[in-house]
Symmetry: C2
Subunit: 181 residues, 2 copies
């Protein structure tokens, strides 16, 4: 989906930078390995590691790209931390948001796109699940509830998309959304 | 100093657990390497990595030891993050404290011992300085100011000790302090 959206925006002649979280910097890729493979990780350690790699990514890659006028398509953002760690792990959505907003120093996503798929489809697409993808159905439902809360609270920023649609259709929906921004 | 204090407390028949930060768990030791060796680390990434390893250490080692009645001597604690990242790096002492207190879930140091040494002595003792030890004299002075602010604000918890004294003398001073607690 990120690649297809990036191609569509580049076809307009725009610069597009695609990044993924966790990762995207030397430090971030090392933190990614810790996050996806560690056993018995404390929930706060997890939340803080996500925020740490994000701070480095935003400083080194995202902020410079935005400053020169590029689009940045980030595969996940701190809204995922709000849903996963804040809501589903129970650390508190307000506190997780506050920590991330402090760490990112005002660099915010203009649009947060949440593609909803049913749990069976999600598992099938993922292949071998990582540590967080292996969580229970109840956990994944709490994550979904977290995203829906965000979409309800911030309809001008958070857009829910139906993962049953084709990628081409989703890209066109996103283009219509950002043309209205 | 930690070892000498530990020996003194063990001589009373008490259990003593010594830990060091960053580190002390498998995750923490991996984070330690990132913290001490990475170039160009974002200040928030640094603060969040310190807090992340600390959350894991407190959950896995410190809290269980305290629950069974042991002394825990920790070479650094979140008061160091308040002084280093909150004060000297300018991230904000209140916010750094809040993040750490949330991450530690109420596990707090009973006593914070700050051993003051002049910068020349500190450098000589350190040998090859790591990334943070290589900071400027101005930075080290800001860290010292951060610790002194904490000692002024919390005299019942934070105790300044004179690093010009012998280790034996410092241990006896600490024993007198904790016997009064």
């Amino acid at each position: 989906m990120s690649a297809a959206l990036g191609a569509r925006l580049r076809a307009n002649g725009d610069e597009v930078v695609e990044v993924r979280e966790p990762g995207g910097t030397s430090l971030g890729e090392q933190i990614r390995e810790l996050l996806l493979d560690s056993d018995h990780m404390d929930p706060w350690a997890e939340a803080l590691l996500f925020a740490a790699q994000r701070a480095q990514l935003v400083r080194d890659v995202v902020a410079p790209a935005l400053e020169r006028g590029a689009w940045v398509i980030s595969d996940r953002t701190y809204y995922s931390s709000i849903a996963y760690q804040g809501k589903a792990r129970g650390l508190g959505v307000d506190l997780v948001r506050q920590i991330n907003e402090a760490a990112l120093g005002g660099v915010e996503p203009g649009r947060v796109l949440v593609i909803e798929v049913d749990p069976g489809t999600a598992l099938a697409r993922q292949g071998r699940p990582d540590r967080i993808g292996s969580e229970s159905v109840e956990f994944q439902e709490a994550v979904r509830a977290g995203y829906r809360d965000l979409a309800d609270a911030e309809p001008d920023r958070v857009t829910l998309l139906d993962g049953a649609e084709s990628v081409d259709e989703l890209v066109e929906q996103v283009i219509r959304v950002i043309e209205d921004d």
